[in-house]
């Protein structure tokens, strides 16, 4: 409804449903106006003329009058008029071309008055005239002799069915068209909403994999946008639920393991100092697990953008490698940084540091004795493409994506163990949250983890 809030600032887009509605309604209005105007006129005209049958009868009367006049003169006309009086209740007269009665009874004033406005049989008869119209029917054989004048009997009046037709043209047909319009609007506007409702109901029934039909999402207008947004939402919802369920299952396993170890230690250890040492170790491990799991869960739920700053990758690497060297007893020379001092990326320092630290720890853990881990990279347009490579022998091609899932621990192939398999998931989440991407490939002697991060704006 932006259109109405800021009418002058922005017109609805080319594909907006506004245009469809506007065209439809304008066309409909014009059609209705034209229909009622032209049909009304047509029906009016059609109803203004005497029916053929009526004309036939009236001409028959005229022929009768002519015959009576030509054979028996005024007396014949009188007799014929008497006969007519029994057949028609209205006034009937026979006049000559001088507008005088051809019967023996002369016309009175009122009748003479009426004779000044007579209608031919082919003239339209208006319904708006008061009373019944007077018709003049010339003698069929010799029209110059005279004419039959008759006040049109009610049954011959045209427009017997006028009310019916008026109801049809002004009521039923517009009603029918409006009904069609309603059906059209319903199909246009409400059907897609019904689909959305059905999907929402499906969610309520825990069927998160239902999606809208292709028709609903491929529309170009606002409803199409709504449908696509809805689909994306269900995608995200389903993803979250799957992750949560997986996480819950993994967590129950992971949390119980150190607990059972604690219980064993509690039951079996006799020496107090050893017990304390062991407890300390287990608590540290458990705290790391809880922290990491919670962090992963938070990373997945928090959508607020992280504050970003410019980060020099060399300085970041110095900081991380110092920590890593302390943790692993490696000399700094085994962690070289090949990227230059001009490599500045834009990201959140804490999240990026943690991501890179997790990747680095992982690489160090899986390195062979004396192996090195190095960071290299190159500028790639608006991005910096960095990669961290180790010499730990790599992993199965099929596991390249799996290592980023929470609690994935690969057995066998690579040296080293420990950790809960959360590091790389956290790393990927952290990198993605700042607009980057993270993936892995096997390269040469080991695993190469790629990072793609936005470069500092120059």
């Amino acid at each position: 409804m932006k259109l109405f809030e800021r009418p002058l600032q922005r017109l609805p887009g080319k594909h907006s449903i506004f245009w469809k509605l506007a065209c439809l309604l304008i066309a409909f209005c014009l059609l209705m106006i034209w229909l009622s105007w032209s049909w009304g006129r047509y029906m009016e005209e059609q109803n203004a003329f005497l029916a053929d049958k009526s004309r036939e009868i009236l001409r028959g009367y005229a022929a009768g009058a002519e015959l009576a006049f030509s054979t028996q003169g005024r007396a014949g006309v009188d007799a014929w008029l008497q006969l007519m009086a029994t057949r028609e209740s209205t006034w009937v007269g026979v006049i000559g071309n001088d507008l005088q009665s051809l019967s023996s009874a002369p016309l009175n004033d009122k009748e003479s008055q009426r004779l000044t406005f007579l209608r031919g049989l082919d003239w339209p008869v208006s319904r708006h005239v008061k009373g019944l119209p007077w018709m003049k029917v010339p003698f069929p054989v010799d029209p110059s002799v005279g004419s039959l004048v008759i006040e049109l009997p009610q049954r011959f009046m045209p427009g017997q069915y006028q009310l019916f037709w008026r109801v049809v043209t002004n009521g039923m047909i517009p009603g029918l068209f409006t009904l069609l319009l309603c059906i059209g609007l319903y199909r246009l506007l409400i059907m897609p909403l019904n689909q959305l409702r059905e999907q929402a109901n499906a969610w309520r029934a825990d069927q998160l994999n239902t999606r809208l039909s292709h028709d609903a999402t491929s529309r170009q207008d606002e409803l199409g946008e709504l449908g696509r947004a809805f689909d994306q939402m269900s995608e995200r919802l389903q993803g979250t639920v799957v992750v949560q369920r997986q996480l819950l299952r993994d967590m129950s396993h992971e949390l119980r393991t150190p607990l059972s170890r604690l219980r064993v230690a509690c039951d079996s250890e006799r020496d107090l100092t050893q017990l304390r040492e062991r407890l300390g170790r287990e608590i540290d491990a458990m705290q790391r697990l809880v922290d990491d799991s919670l962090q992963l869960a938070w990373l997945d739920t928090e959508r607020a953008p992280l504050p970003v700053e410019n980060i020099q990758v060399q300085a970041l690497w110095d900081m991380l490698s110092e920590n890593a060297c302390f943790e692993s007893d490696w000399p700094a020379t085994r962690l070289p940084c090949v990227v230059g001092a001009d490599c500045w990326v834009r990201g959140n320092l804490n999240a990026l540091a943690q991501a890179l630290e997790n990747i680095l720890r992982n690489a160090i853990r899986h390195s062979p004795v004396g192996g090195i881990v190095w960071l290299d990279g190159r500028r790639d347009g608006e991005y910096w493409h960095l990669w961290l490579e180790d010499q730990g022998g790599g992993i199965d091609e099929g596991d390249l994506e799996r290592i980023f899932a929470p609690f994935t621990r690969l057995e066998g192939s690579r040296p080293g163990d420990g950790g809960f398999g959360l590091g790389l998931s956290i790393a990927r989440n952290a990198v993605q949250r700042q607009g980057g991407s993270l993936w892995a490939e096997n390269a040469g002697q080991g695993l190469r983890v790629h990072l793609r991060l936005p470069a500092r704006a120059d």
């Binding site: 705290q287 938070w298 928090e302 110095d318 320092l349 943690q354």
Partner: protein
Amino acid sequence: MNPAAVSLPNILTIEDDPVLGAYVHEHLGRCGFQVTWCQNGQQGLQLARSQVFDVVLMDILLPGLDGLSILTHLRQHHATPVILMSALGAEADRINGFRLGADDYLPKPFSMIELRVRIEAILRRVALDRRPLPTQQAMRDDARTLRFDDELCDVVYQAQWAGLTRSEYRLLETLHRNGEEVLSKAFLYQHVLQRGYAPHDRSLDMHISQMRRKLKAIGYSEREVRTVWGKGYVLSGHDEAV
């Protein structure tokens, strides 16, 4: 180093968990602090308003009145340093705490050593803030090779400027002023970056890393910033390096 040289630092602990509260009470008492322990938020606020404490240590989820509300009320008239402790781990809670004027935020679970480091860092910062700055001359005395310029916030060595940022300069100057003493991260955060320290916060480490690079770039190698694991940083001569 101990700021409690004159009198025992007075600490108010507001913690409803009886086990943790009693343990903190006992432990801090043994560390030489005078501790008042209160289990209820409302009472805690009254105490904090009516008496003078050096540090207030409190939980966020409390009966009566929660920690953040206490902090809001307290901050209306009092500048007493406050350390929040909480098991709510979200970054948002931490930021919220700092926004309302907390001096530090300690996520649960924490070790007593960690707690003590945080308290001492705050006490030390408060003491430093109160103490007048040492004279410029005394400071410059042993800086024959590396010259500090307070105006430009930069250091110069053999006519070469290092190009430090303001935070880096403050950091280097603090380390320099304290000679060979190891300064805890908690204290450096309090004093230099003016905020609490969190385990995932890497700003300080990054400043140190940048500072080292810049000092190296101008060829200064007489002393260097060394990391003392588990403790903090120190600016010390090369020969003492590990």
